[in-house]
């Protein structure tokens, strides 16, 4: 723990305070402005005809009847859009050897998953567009489909991409050396095979886009429910050949994103083209059924793992193989191999062992693409690692908390590296484990568990430590050739009445980006938070930046705002010094007043400096040009990532007759570095935990033998709801990064990273008396009962 940046009892000390979000009030009044709400003059509506087959050749498309329907303005197929849109390929240079087919908005001759958009209709209303879809006839020749991970890898498997020699997208391996020797010398070796179901983000607001191309000016404006407007400005410009300065992307209020709303979707790209073809605004909102078959999915991994430990329970080595299936293409522009890549690099990350070997194989299949979704790869790496730790602890006869305390990298050993080569500046596993023991009341919980077990009530306690990747540097995407920025920019101004406006490239999806930026700016400048207006989500308003993903809003965005605010403050004090005949260093700003640094006596209102500078510059000394607007960029330059860490605990009850699991309580101790707003951090953690609990118990995209999604509706795909979720106890350890002045890292993925691992361990703990074990998530009643041989 280090001291806060400023004392919390000082005026305008906002960093570290649970300040409510200023922009939340209008959402509570039903005055959010989402893309789904938008109506523009002469706006038309798009709908898409989708492939019923997982893999089929498109023989012919008959759209005459649809075109003839009243109210229909355009029916477009793949060939029509290919004439104006260049193809894209979801590969990156630093993933050596990876392949993926070029993609177009709509396919020309082959559909590669059931639900892929094939023909677009633009009409007066969505209902009329759907009527027209019923009048389109597509003649398909069904092709053999690859619908299962193992089937994709089988010899002579049908090819997802006929031009390729196999269904392999990418392979890589890591080997620190010494693995075989460590296993040979080990007192104990534990092994397990794991299955991780496919799931999907299910933002409550579906994907939504309104593309508005004005043919006369050649200007494209896209209102897009996305996390990353700058990335899409670049992509729409390059793929449609429109100069970047004439492409504006606006991301207003967004109804949830979680990584899902930063990928290129075929329909979104098509809608831009449809607007260009028509010269009118075109709106497309994925309905929920479409979301399930066209939003990215995630996970879908099979992992084999071995762990070697010595007689005292010291972890010596791990050896893992991860196989993951990603759909028919790799997504653009971030690819679909990042998840697997992070799985094999994050396994073992909390622990101090040295010998590690991993192989990753990423394969294609005829399903919708998987890609980055909240806590990319973390839940899999964490579940594998933490389950192996529990298996080893059981073998050695150690309590799971003790086993972890004995093996984590010691808090005083930093800087340190993970077995896979990640470089850690400073983590706090030991402190977090101690806190967890305290907040769980661990020993008495174990006593309670034992007492209840004697009465036939089977409760389980699960623990999972984790490391989270946040705030990636250009090493993450930039070096691979992706035009994805790791820097952010802010333009901050003192307004004529002495208030502050900060336009910043990190974006808001409800996590509180605008709130924390206003806290940081207000504190740095010494003005009241309500006098700071933060603007986000419009490429025409803010500088270019990476925006919000990978928990970079606070770490990179917050530091950008901090540095920009400090520059503006220096400029303000420079003018103040001229007016007051003082040295700038002798002055400070407190609560909107320039004060004497030594006495804290008010000398001049900031508003007065603004008034003089904007309206009476003639009264300033000759040659003075007040610079009351500052633009500033910040890119991380120290460690390639700001790693965070923490530990979670889970207490649950298994009904061994029904296989049902009741979550009783969940615990999180988390270290995200400097905490800017504790309430918002806790919200991120709780929301993240619940997404992890959903994955652990409920969520899975189930497919039939022909590659049809069987549960693609919100009635059939089980998301976590209020009744089944536990209360979540949260505590913090605070280890700021020294790479920035602010010291913040990130917290958005920590909850999701370890929650499912925790549940997996807790269920297995509960099943110990039965000698039953579970190695796959979601942990359904069917899996529990099967493990218990109940049917």
């Amino acid at each position: 723990m280090t001291a806060p940046l400023t004392s919390l009892d000082r005026p305008n000390s906002y960093i570290g305070r649970s300040v409510p979000r200023p922009n939340a009030k209008r959402l509570l009044a039903g005055r959010g402005r989402y893309v789904t709400d938008l109506r523009l003059p002469r706006m038309l509506h798009a709908a898409f005809l989708r492939s019923p087959h997982a893999h089929a050749r498109i023989i012919s498309i008959d759209v005459d009847a649809a075109r003839a329907q009243p109210g229909v303005h355009l029916v477009a197929s793949g060939a029509d859009l290919a004439m104006i849109c260049t193809p894209w390929t979801g590969t990156l240079d630093h993933f050596k050897g990876m392949i993926s087919e070029p993609q177009l908005p709509l396919p020309i001759d082959r559909a590669v998953w059931a639900g892929q958009a094939v023909v677009a209709v633009v009409a007066e209303s969505r209902a009329i567009a759907e009527d027209a879809l019923e009048r389109i006839t597509v003649d398909y020749e069904e092709l053999p489909a690859v619908v299962d991970l193992d089937a994709a890898r089988a010899p002579h498997a049908p090819l997802v991409n006929p031009a390729a020699s196999s269904n392999i997208c990418f392979r890589t391996q890591l080997d620190s050396g010494g693995v075989d020797e460590a296993f040979a010398a080990a007192a104990h070796v534990v092994e397990e095979e794991f299955g991780f179901g496919r799931h999907t983000p299910v933002t409550l607001e579906p994907r939504a886009i309104v593309a508005d191309y004005e043919p006369d000016s050649g200007v494209l404006t896209v209102h897009h429910a996305t996390q990353t407007p700058y990335q899409f400005q670049d992509l729409y410009s390059r793929h449609y050949g429109i100069p970047e300065a004439r492409v504006r992307v606006i991301a207003p209020d967004i109804g949830g994103s979680f990584g899902m709303k930063l990928h290129v979707y075929h329909e979104d790209m098509a809608v831009v083209g449809l607007s260009i073809l028509l010269g009118r605004p075109v709106k497309y909102v994925a309905d929920r059924i479409e979301s399930f078959v066209s939003d990215i999915h995630a996970r879908d991994h099979h992992v084999r793992a071995r762990m070697a430990v010595d007689a005292d329970g010291k972890i010596l080595a791990m050896d893992v193989v991860d196989v993951t299936a990603i759909g028919a293409f790799s997504t653009y522009p971030r690819t679909s191999v990042v998840e697997g890549n992070q799985v094999i690099r994050l396994i073992g990350a909390p622990y101090g062992f040295k010998s590690y070997r991993a192989a990753l194989e990423v394969v294609f299949q005829n399903k919708v693409q998987t890609s980055q979704y909240r806590a990319v790869g973390h839940p899999i790496a964490c579940a594998v690692t933490e389950r192996m730790v529990d298996l080893a602890a059981e073998r050695v006869g150690l309590d799971p908390l003790v086993m972890r305390a004995n093996n984590v990298i010691a808090d005083d050993a930093y800087p340190a590296a993970s077995p896979t080569g990640y470089k850690f500046e400073a983590l706090s596993h030991e402190a977090c484990l101690r806190r967890l023991r305290a907040i769980m009341n661990y020993d008495s919980l174990r006593d309670e568990q034992a007492a209840l077990r004697r009465r036939g009530v089977h409760r389980g306690i699960g623990i999972a430590t984790f490391v989270e990747i946040t705030n990636p540097s250009p090493a993450f995407y930039g070096v691979g050739g992706a035009r994805i920025s790791s820097q952010d920019g802010a333009t901050i101004s003192l307004t004529p009445s002495g208030e502050v406006r900060c336009a910043i490239s990190v974006t808001e999806q409800g996590q509180g980006t605008e709130a924390i930026v206003s806290q940081i700016v207000a504190e740095q400048l010494g003005i009241a938070q309500e006098h700071v207006k933060v603007l986000t989500g419009d490429t025409e308003v803010t500088p270019h930046g990476g925006a919000t993903w990978a928990c970079r809003g606070a770490g990179i965005g917050g530091e950008t705002a901090l540095q920009a605010a400090r520059q503006l403050k220096a400029n303000i004090l420079e003018i103040a010094a001229l007016i007051l005949q003082e040295q700038p260093a002798a002055l400070d700003i407190v609560d909107g007043q320039v004060v004497s640094r030594s006495t804290q006596q008010p000398r001049l209102a900031v508003a007065e400096i603004a008034r003089i500078s904007y309206f009476r510059s003639d009264t300033l000394p000759p040659g003075t040009q007040a610079q009351l607007t500052v633009s500033h960029h910040f890119a991380p330059q120290g460690y390639p990532f700001a790693f965070t860490n923490g530990v979670q605990g889970c207490y649950l009850e298994v009904d061994v007759d029904t296989g049902f699991i009741k979550l009783l309580k969940h615990y999180v101790v988390e270290d995200c570095g400097r905490i800017i707003n504790p309430m918002l951090v806790d919200e991120q953690l709780r929301g993240g935990v619940v997404q992890g609990l959903g994955a652990a118990l409920f969520e899975e995209c189930r497919y039939g033998e022909t590659g049809q999604l069987l549960n693609g509706s919100l009635a059939d795909y089980l998301v976590p709801m209020a009744m089944e979720m536990p209360d979540i106890v949260i505590d913090h350890v605070e280890t700021p990064t020294a790479d920035t002045i602010l010291g913040a890292k990130g917290c958005g993925e920590a909850g999701t990273a370890a929650a499912s691992a925790c549940v997996l361990n807790a269920v297995n703990d509960a099943l110990t008396p039965f000698g039953a074990s579970i190695n796959a998530i979601p942990i359904t009643p069917a899996r529990v009962l099967k493990a218990l041989n109940r049917y």
């Binding site: 209303s125 969505r126 209902a127 759907e130 009527d131 019923e134 309905d287 929920r288 059924i289 007759d657 029904t658 049902f660 409920f698 189930r702 039939g704 069987l710 549960n711 089980l718 709801m721 009744m723 089944e724 359904t780 009643p781 069917a782 009962l785 099967k786 109940r790 049917y791």
Partner: protein, 286 residues
């Protein structure tokens, strides 16, 4: 997800509704609460040319005693099962099942008649109507008729209702002081369709079961009575041994099908576990 176009008619009387349906033929649908029908229309799984709204037909409302039966109008909303004193007193099994039916806002709009007419095999009320030995009052072009619940459910989403007929009311025998009820279900999440559900009403003679009717849902193509199981219980005290015998007998009553996420054997196992628990609760209610 937008419905195909249709025309709309708001009926004020049963006769108006029937006449509208007769005029439109097979392409007409009655809409009551619409909580299942509207999604089916939005998904274009059904595409009637006319929707006949019966929500404003006063004759379909109201709960009242009629002799030894409680007559529950078809338009009675699920929520009223929780709030109406007559239901609590004379049809407590419906009261017990109601909290498990979907969610509060669905219960505010969904109707008993709509639920029974749809005959979703995973729904609570059709099965409880069966357990209660209810009579289903039907109006059609050729007049009124009564069908016993045992004869009402025919197959998957298929009932004794002929096209153009309207379910008017459900009439259940009045609950008596020597009777007990019990209900429970196993659903993954609150308000979801259950993996299996079970409700029962038993008449006791001292501590022996004189008569019992047990109905299960989510176990086949239609709500199912457990007739062999009932037989195994009649005349006996409800002790652990008898419950075990009933659980065994259930194998003769049910033959659940395989589904993609619930194997048949698992559903049978869950049905037995649930039956045992609900019978246990019935015993506790003594």
């Amino acid at each position: 997800m937008k419905a195909r176009a249709f025309s709309y008619f708001r009926a004020r009387t049963i006769d108006e509704a029937l006449a509208a349906h007769a005029g439109a033929g097979d392409e007409a649908r009655f809409i009551a609460g619409g909580q299942s029908l509207v999604p089916a229309l939005a998904l274009r799984l059904q595409a009637p040319t006319i929707l006949i709204d019966i929500n404003h037909v006063d004759e379909l409302r109201g709960i009242r005693r009629e002799g030894d039966r409680l007559r529950i109008g078809a338009l009675t909303r699920h929520r009223e099962m929780l709030t109406e004193p007559l239901i609590a007193e004379f049809a407590p099994l419906l009261r017990a099942a109601a909290p498990f039916v979907a969610h509060p806002a669905i219960r505010n709009r969904g109707t008993l008649g709509g639920s029974v007419a749809l005959a979703d095999p995973a729904s609570e009320f059709p099965a409880m109507v069966l357990a209660l030995d209810a009579e289903i009052e039907i109006a059609g072009p050729s007049g009124r008729r009564i069908v016993k619940a045992d004869e009402f459910f025919i197959d998957l989403f298929e009932t004794a209702l002929a096209p153009g007929e309207l379910l008017v009311a459900i009439r259940v025998p009045l609950f008596r002081s020597n009777q007990r009820i019990a209900f429970d279900e196993l659903a993954r999440r609150r308000g979801d369709y259950a993996l299996v559900g079970c409700g029962m009403i038993a008449t006791f003679d001292q501590h022996r079961i004189a008569d019992i009717r047990i109905a299960l849902f989510s176990v086949g193509n239609l709500p199912m009575r457990a007739i062999s199981t009932e037989a195994a219980l009649v005349g006996s005290r409800l002790d652990a041994e008898r419950i075990a015998a009933a659980q065994t007998a259930l194998g003769q009553d049910l033959a659940p099908a395989e589904s993609d996420d619930v194997p048949a054997a698992m559903r049978m196992h869950l049905a037995r576990v649930l039956l045992g628990r609900v019978l246990g609760r019935l015993g506790e209610a003594a």
